[in-house]
Amino acid sequence: SQKIEQNSEALNIQEGKTATLTCNYTNYSPAYLQWYRQDPGRGPVFLLLIRENEKEKRKERLKVTFDTTLKQSLFHITASQPADSATYLCALGHSSASKIIFGSGTRLSIRP
């Protein structure tokens, strides 16, 4: 069955360092991959989308890579700040008429 795995443990990073989160998937060939941020008690908020024919996407301090051979996406936050502390979710979509499925999320804590 389709499976999406994200860092199971919470990630604790010193402010100013680069945080790297991992999303691995099996039994799936996504056409695109998305990353979301979720704060406690709130709905997820979209951050970035990367398509299967793209290797890398950047937005301000965020960078996402997508390796369809390794079946993996890496999500980087450079110059991390305490305000970046949240749960980050990856989501995969297969085609224009299909569901979007989510991983379990990684909780990121940035300490001052």
Binding site: G43, A97, K99, F102, G105
Partner: protein
């Protein structure tokens, strides 16, 4: 409003009761999704609408769950004979296009006693 609106924000019910959860998507968004999220877990896909029709309902756990979107805008998730295991936050999201970013509501927290 500008965003996705979900009502009620909180619902407490007794085992065996019927529950309806409503989602008002962003105006003009044709795609609408329902997810269920338990504590510490990611959103679990339930159903996806493209317009008025359910394009994919493979995530509905059983026949107690049903969702409609009769005019291609507002959607209602209906749960019959609720069970304690149905307790979760039910999230709705809409999108302008099927592969675009999802805009989520704040969720409806359902507690079944």
């Amino acid at each position: 409003g500008a965003g996705v609106s979900q009502t009620p924000s909180n619902k407490v019910t007794e085992k065996g009761k019927y529950v309806e959860l409503r989602c008002d998507p962003i105006s003009g968004h044709t795609a609408l999704y329902w997810y269920r999220q338990s504590l510490g877990q990611g959103p679990e896909f339930l159903i996806y609408f493209q317009g008025t029709g359910a394009a994919d309902d493979s995530g509905l756990p059983n026949d107690r769950f049903f969702a409609v979107r009769p005019e291609g805008s507002v959607s209602t998730l209906k749960i019959q004979r609720t069970e304690r295991g149905d307790s979760a936050v039910y999230l709705c999201a809409s999108s302008l296009e099927p592969t675009g970013e999802l805009f989520f509501g704040e969720g409806s927290r359902l507690t079944v006693l």
